[in-house]
Each structure stands twice: as C-alpha cells, then as structure tokens.
C-alpha cells in the first residue's frame, strides 16, 4: 500500500497480487490507523474486489471523505445531525470512480461539514497526525490526509473550501490538489460554501492526483457549474518539461522581515522555501519576487469568513431532521426543527451560522457581504493579473509544520495569519492549486503550494511534478516522531 497507483496497477495486471489482497491489506491498515489516529467514521468491512481492467484505478482501494454522498453507506459529514444518514445516491465524483473499478475502503473524518481547519471537530472525535500524534492533521480533510500519509491506500477524496485539502496534505507530508472550480462535479458533496467548495484528492505523489482527477472530472448535467474538460488530460501531460516557465512568489508573505519576532519554525520554513525556489531555477524556470499591497492581503481572512459563513448558513438550512437525520422533539414542526439543530450542531458551527445570518441580514448585506464580495473580486483580479505574466504563484503553506492538538503549546508568530490563510485565494478565484511536501522541520513535514490560472490545470500539475521529482519527498509514508 506504500506504492503508487501505477505500480499497484502493474502488480495487479501481472498477477503479483489481487484486488482482494489489496483490500485486505487496506482494511487491516484501516483498523490500525483508526486505533492510533481515529481517522474514520466508517470502515467498509464488506469492501469487494473489482475486476482489473486497463483502467489504472481498477481494483485499487481508496478512501472517501464523509461529506461525499455514498449510496447505501453511512454519510455523516462528521456531524451529529447526520449521524445515522444513509444516502440513496452517489456523488457524481464517487460514481465515476466506482465506474472505473476503484474500491472504497472507508469514509474519513472531517471537521463538521468541512467547517474547520484542525481535524478536531468531527462528531467521532479528534484526528491525530500520523507523524506526531500530539499534533493536528489540519482539516477539514483530516481523515483522508491521515490515512493516505499512513499508507492505508494510495489516495483519498477530499473537499476544499478554504484550504481543506491543501493544508492537511501539507501537515501530513503528502500531495493535495483541488482543480479549477467546476472541473469536478459537486453533485453529492455536502455543501459548505457553494461558491468556494471544490472536490479534490489527496495522494502521495503528483502523478497519482493527476490520474484520480482525470477520472473524477467532467461535465455533469446535475451541476450547472461544471464545464467541459474533455480536452484536458492531466496524467498524459506530466512530462516534467518546465524550462522557460515563470513562477512568482509574494514578498509580503515570504520575506522574514515582514514578521515581528518570528519563531524559529517560521524562519526555517521560509528558508527551506527559498532553497526550493533555487531548485525551481535549476529546473530552468524563472522565479520572480512580486509585491502585493499588504492591506489587500490582510483583508483575506475576513473576506473568507464573511462569504463562507453567509453561504453556509443558507446551505445547511436543509438539515431540519424532518426528512432525514434524527427527528427532533417538540410540540410542533418548528420546535422539532429547532431541537434537531440545537442538539445536532457543535457550538463552532452555530457560531458560523450566527455570523452568516448576521451578514445576510438586509441591513448588513451591503457593509459585510457586498464588501467582502468586492474585496474577493480585487484579490482574484490581482492574482489573474499575475497569471498574465506568470505560469503560477509559488508560496509556502502555513507558517511551519502541524500545530499541537493542545494549541496552547504553540507559539504563533504575530502577523503570520495571512501566511496561514492565503490558500483561500485559490477558492476565491476557483484556481487550480496543489500542495506538495518540500521538506522537514523537526522531523515534521512542511510544504509548498503552486496555484495557477483557471483551466490551466495541466500546467500547474506539470510544474508541481517537476519540482516534486527534484526533491526527495515523493511517496513518503508517515514515520512517527519519538517523544523521548
């Protein structure tokens, strides 16, 4: 299970092992990982082998984040509101993988409905980082990141509204990719914020994410925001030829001078990043430092909060316990709905609903929602402007390795918030964005991110593929650090 998709496929075709062997190994691993890190909501003991075909994914196990609707399989969104919900239809992305012969092994834990970045707010409890179980995986695709890093299977599905694929991938030392908005159908993905939600995948190398997204993507008549990507072939186009490509990084985020009293971790993280830029140049790419108004950058987190909370409060209004979910108690329907929601949602989610509701109020919309949308437009335009000159923006992910579960133990650098949140621009603009591991700090993985223009997924993946190939972090399986 520590192999790449292609290697596994060849072994299956050669008869070195069977789909059944892989499933058994994956299930066994699942139980170990569940025991140690609590990554799963459901383990599918009855997972069945599929015939090995020419499809690279046939017969190979994978994981599904529990906010994907899976037919006849519990799908909770890691929320008490749906703790017993068994859907009768598959998400389009899942359906496509099943058609390819891929074998789902488990449903992975997320922050409740994707609304969190720690992996600690799912209704089944905290997901721990397989590199260091005292640390977070980040979220919301926490279980998926944990399981892929721990070698349960070569890939797992994630979803990404702010950085929910790309951040946990970084903290778990793997690859996380969300393609251009609308490339993969969102039908059947439990919504968080529709204008920001993306489906995507976590795997241990760029080639694997390319293979999986090639299968997941495509026009879907059930999702009007999908577009025809039939001319895009991510896997076929990975040739590593990046000579002459132009990358830029943002001074305001990458220059240590911008941070007051930076932690040692941040220093090392940025130094490491700079070293990787040198690798990019070695590969024949041009790397340019650009400057962007700090004021604009610093507006980013609040823009994200405003838009995502507003959309979330509306998107999750269907959870009333009337048609599905546990029926609430009360003397009338309104009371029953209120009881269901009061008991079902965690305080964290309720807080977001209150913010979202406040922002959507008639008298507040102009000041909060409309202004947030304007700043979103400004940010997206700024990035689009960069893409006129550059193939992609390359930036470090977060301010260092994974934080401790008890966040009181972490000393956070002041002003580092934007560094923590900048991946959200990928969601604002619907840009293709991929995170790959780029080194270690104290034996814990750190990562860099490459984000390109809409519909330019082939280019973005190819750049990531070239850089990945020039570094020794491809296909790594988590090795737990010792706390002696």
């Amino acid at each position: 299970m520590d192999k790449t998709i292609k290697e596994l496929h060849e072994m299956l075709q050669n008869g070195e092992m069977t789909s059944k062997d892989l499933i058994q190994e994956s299930l066994k691993k699942s139980y170990e990982v569940q025991e140690k890190y609590n990554a799963f909501v459901t383990i599918l003991d009855d997972a069945k082998e599929t015939p090995v075909t020419n499809n690279l994914l046939s017969g190979i196990p994978f994981g599904i984040k529990d906010n994907y609707s899976t037919k006849d399989i519990l799908s909770t969104g890691s929320s008490n509101t749906l703790k017993n919900y068994v859907p009768f239809f598959n998400a389009t992305a899942v359906e496509k993988l099943l058609s390819a012969g891929a074998v789902p092994i488990n449903k992975t834990v997320l922050d409740e409905f994707g609304m969190g970045g720690t992996g600690t707010t799912g209704h089944t409890g905290i997901v721990k980082n397989p590199w260091d179980s005292t640390r977070i995986t980040a979220g919301s695709s926490a279980g998926s990141a944990c399981a892929v890093a721990a070698g349960v299977y070569p890939y797992a599905l994630g979803s990404d509204t702010g950085d929910s694929i790309r951040k946990p991938a970084a903290y778990c030392g793997i690859v996380g990719y969300k393609p251009t908005y609308g490339m993969i159908s969102r039908y059947g993905l439990f919504p968080f914020a529709s204008s920001l939600d993306h489906c995507g995948v976590l795997a241990r190398n760029v080639q694997d994410v390319a293979i999986v997204v090639d299968t997941m993507k495509g026009l879907d008549d059930k999702d009007m925001t999908t577009w025809d990507s039939s001319t895009i072939h991510l896997y076929e186009n990975l040739d590593g030829k990046v000579g002459g490509k132009k990358l830029c990084y943002i001074k305001e985020l990458c220059d240590i001078e911008n941070y007051e009293n930076p932690t040692e971790e941040l220093k090392r993280h940025l130094e490491n990043f700079k070293e990787k830029l040198a690798i990019c140049e070695k590969l024949g790419m041009e790397v340019v430092e650009v400057s962007i108004d700090k004021k604009l950058l610093s507006a980013l987190p609040s823009v994200y909060v405003a838009i995502s909370c507003a959309e979330a409060t509306s998107n999750l209004s269907n959870l009333t316990g009337i048609l599905f979910g546990s029926r609430g108690e009360g003397r009338n329907i309104m009371e029953m709905m209120m009881d269901h929601r009061t008991k079902g949602f965690s305080p964290l989610i309720k807080r977001r609903f209150v913010i979202g509701s406040y922002i959507l109020q008639k008298e507040n919309q102009e000041r909060y929602l409309k202004n947030a949308q304007r700043v979103r437009r400004l940010l997206v335009d700024t990035w689009k402007n960069l893409f006129k000159t550059f193939d992609a923006v390359i930036l470090p992910v977060g301010s260092g390795p994974a934080k401790h579960l008890d966040s009181g133990n972490d000393i956070l650098t002041k002003n580092a918030e934007i560094l923590e949140e900048h991946l959200q621009i990928g969601n604002f603009g619907g840009f293709p964005s991929i995170t790959i591991p780029d080194g270690f700090i104290n034996n814990l993985p750190v990562a860099l991110n490459i984000t390109g223009n809409c519909y330019d997924d082939e280019n973005v993946l190819n750049i990531a593929y070239a850089i990945e190939s020039a570094m020794p972090y491809k296909n790594q399986i988590a090795k737990e650090v010792s706390h002696e």
Binding site: G77, R186, P191, T225, T313, S317, N318, I333, M337
Partner: protein, 476 residues
C-alpha cells in the same frame, strides 16, 4: 361611487407547464397521489444541486415580453431564506436582483372601459411542498416542491375588486393563450396576495397598506377586497383609521372575512442573496427574438381585429376570444370559407352550448370546422332550412356521423313557387275566418299563416318564398 378610493396591488402566482420541474428532473405534473413526482433535489437531500429548466426560463421571458417588461441582460437567481416545513432546502430559489421582467404594463377591459395595469415585475421561482394538517399530525407532499412558479407583481394601480378580478382573468387567459400554464385555480395553480389600502378621493398619499396572503380563487379575491374595503372604510368613518395597521392578514373563505396574521413589524427578513449554484448566463438577443415570434395574437388584440376587420359585434367577438381554442376554431371556419357571422353564431350558441353541457373541451368536440362547413353550405344553397340545420347538427354530434349523411332529398326545402302556391291556396281556403280577420286589420295573424304553411310542409317550405306568396295573396 364609493366614499373612499381603494388602491389595490396584486401578486399573482401561477404554476407553469413543463415536462420536468424548474430546478430538478422530476416530472411536473399535477397528481392526487402524494409524493409521486419527486426527486432527491425536490426533497433537499444533502449534496443536491439545482439545474435550471430552459423551457421555464423561455416561458417566463415570453410573459415578460407579453407584459411589455424590460428583460435583464443576464439571467440569475436568488435564494430567499426562511424555515418552514414546506420548504425543503430552507430557502426558495427565486429572482430578486434581476427578475425576468420589470416595469411593464398591460391593458385590461373592465365594463367596456380600457385600463392600463402597470407591472412592477415578473419573476421565475420554484413552488414549495404542500402541507396537510390533521388533528395531531401534518403530512408533507413534495409533488409541488420545485414546480415552476411565475410571480407577477402589479403596481398599486387597481381601484376595485372588479378591476382586480378582471386583471386576473385577463392574465389567466393570456397564460392559456400562450400555452405556458393550465392556469387552473381548482388545482391550486393560481394563488394571489392582495395589497389594499383606502384613501380620500382628493388625497395625494396612500393610506395604510394591508396585505392579504394566499387567496386561492378569483371569487375569493373579489370578496376579500370588498370585505377589506368595507372594514377599512368603517374604521375611517368612525374616526378610528389609526386602527388600520400595516399588517399581513389571511382570507378565511368559510367565515368570509380577513384575519390578522402578523404585523409588518414582525416581517421576516428573507436574507436574499444570489444563488452560487446557478451561474449567471447571458440572455441572447437572438433567443429573445425567437421567443417573441412564438407569442400568439392575444385576446384583446384579437377581439379588436374581429370587430374591425370582420364586423363582429363586441359581444360576439368577446365570446370567441375568451379562449384560444375558440378563436382557433373560429379562424379555421373562416379559412374554410364560412362567413364570419355564421361561424360566430354557430360557435357562440350551439357549439359552446354543447361543450359546456357535456363538459368537454372544444378540442374533443366531434364537429370540426370542416364538418360544420357541410351544414353551412347546405343552408346557403337553400337546400335545408336553419331549423333543419340545427337538427342535422345535433344528430351529427349525437351519432358521431358526418352531417352529410343526415341531409337527404326528403329534407330539401320546397322552393318551387307553383308548388308552394298550391299549398298556400289550400290553407287559405281552410282558414277563411282568419283571412277575413286579417283583412280587417288583425296584422299579427300573418305569422299564423306562415306557421300553418310550415306545419303543412313539416318545415320544408322556403320561408322567404312562403312569406312573399302569403303577402301577395293576403294583401290583394
């Protein structure tokens, strides 16, 4: 004239026709069986997404044009957020930012007077599920959830219950003419909200506006408006106008009165925002042109045409344009060469009489214009009398056989002058007393003689010729 001027604005909701629902692939069809036409989308299971039905957008745009509204450059939808058990998603997809039409107007004809009704906007949205309340349970039927609904909002420009109902009837007829809706109130396809206030005739500011929600029949609209005018007027008369509150009321059909629901102060904030799942799309000019071409000639214009070009009376024309079917039948008759007045007479009396009596639609009616022509031609030729024509008409539809098969030689009119003269001579001989009385000035006996001739010939005597001969003989 009533003491106060009533100011009325209407919100008319009408369910539109389509194969599938406006945002889902479930069938859009009225059903008595609950939860028969439903999909995951209608029931808002987690992860569902709306997909807009192009036909519904087309029909809504057509109505926007019929109402002389401005169409937006881009089509998009908003969410109207509120919690209610009949609203599965917790929001209704509707149009707020850019309705499919704004600032329109349409003419109505009320008591022979033309009046312009101004349209604030027309927009496309989805209907909610329907609830049935029982003693200790409520049942939800999702058949209606997601049915295309077009809401039309007028400016406050109507001044009586009669005008309001006429407007609604006009719109219903237009919807049916354009074939965008069955517009059947019995199936709950039309629902209205009424906004109403009263003011002194010379006042310049509107009075306090009361909204009456969910009135489900045109009779209900009329009664609710009249009730509310009376209620508000009585309070004003008594010097207690301040008790008229800006509020929402509902119409209780059984009690025949409006009942307070909530004050405007408690109005719900629907937190509208653009639905990100339905990307905005440009409405192409070419598409609008295409839709425009499909708009049929509407009732009032058609009526004018019939009066002006065909010389029909206002009354007859009014009957024919009432439904598109009628007008089409009529026009088919004209194309077949049937004279306009003749066609109009047949249609407005015998034919409509029959379809009303048998409760069928004109489309199901056996006697097509082609078959009608067989009867009309024989009358014109003088082969059969108009009385016989009616007999043939009824026989034909009763036995579902062509009129031709009932027109026999035996029925042929007696138009031979000599033959008639002989018959008339005999009758005059047999009625000598009456002839004497007639000649002494009892003019009304003329019809008696005509009657006798008809009786004698079993109605086959040519009436004109009969009258001519009788006049000739009696007046000499």
């Amino acid at each position: 004239m009533s003491k106060y001027k009533a100011v009325i604005g209407l919100e008319m909701h009408c369910e539109f026709k389509s194969n599938s629902k406006v945002f889902s692939s479930a069938r859009n069809s009225y059903s008595e069986i609950p939860n028969e036409n439903i999909s995951a989308v209608d029931m808002a299971f987690p992860g569902i997404l709306p997909v807009v039905n192009k036909k519904c957008v087309r029909d809504a745009l057509m109505m926007s044009m019929v109402l002389h509204c401005k169409q937006p450059e881009f089509m998009y939808f908003d969410r109207k957020n509120y919690y209610y058990p009949d609203l599965p998603k917790g929001y209704q997809i509707t149009q707020m930012t850019e309705p499919v039409g704004i600032d329109g107007c349409i003419e109505i004809e009320c008591n022979g007077e033309r009046k312009k009704v101004f349209i604030h906007d027309i927009h496309l949205e989805e209907d909610t599920a329907s609830l049935d309340h029982y003693y200790d349970t409520s049942c939800i039927d999702y058949n209606r959830a997601g049915v295309p609904l077009v809401e039309l909002v007028t400016e406050p420009c109507l001044n009586s219950a009669e005008e309001a109902v006429t407007f609604l009837e006009t719109m219903r007829s237009i919807y049916k003419y354009c074939d965008v809706s069955e517009a059947d109130t019995k199936k709950g396809q039309i629902r209205c909200d009424v906004n109403i206030s009263i003011m002194d005739w010379d006042a310049t500011e509107y009075g306090t506006r009361v909204e009456i929600k969910n009135v489900n029949s045109f009779g209900g609209v009329r009664d609710a408006i009249n009730y509310e005018i009376k209620r508000q007027s009585e309070l004003k008369d008594a010097g207690r106008y301040s008790e008229v509150e800006q509020e929402t009321r509902r119409w209780d059909e059984e009690e025949g009165k409006t009942i307070r629901m909530r004050s405007k102060v408690d109005a719900i904030d629907y937190k509208y925002f653009v639905d990100p799942n339905l990307p905005k799309f440009k409405i192409a000019k070419e598409w609008l042109e295409e839709i425009k071409k499909d708009i049929p000639l509407l009732p009032l214009e058609r009526k004018e045409k019939y009066i002006r070009e065909l010389g029909l009376s206002d009354y007859d024309a009014g009957i024919i344009v009432k439904e598109r079917n009628y007008a089409e039948y009529f026009e088919e008759c004209l194309e077949l060469g049937i004279d306009a007045k003749t066609a109009s007479n047949w249609l407005s009396t015998q034919i409509l009489g029959q379809i009303n009596e048998k409760e069928i639609s004109l489309k199901e009616f056996y006697l097509t214009p082609t078959l009608l022509k067989q009867i009309v031609e024989e009358v014109n030729k003088g082969t059969i009398s108009s009385k016989q024509a009616k007999e043939v008409f009824y026989k034909s539809i009763d036995e579902k056989k062509e009129p031709k098969s009932f027109i026999t030689n035996d029925m042929t009119q007696i138009s031979d002058k000599r033959e008639l003269e002989n018959i008339i001579n005999t009758i005059l001989e047999e009625n000598r007393n009456q002839v004497k009385e007639y000649k002494n000035g009892k003019d009304n006996l003329f019809d008696y003689f005509v009657g006798q001739v008809m009786k004698n010939t079993r109605g086959k005597a040519n009436p004109i010729l009969t009258k001519d001969i009788l006049k000739e003989k009696l007046n000499n």
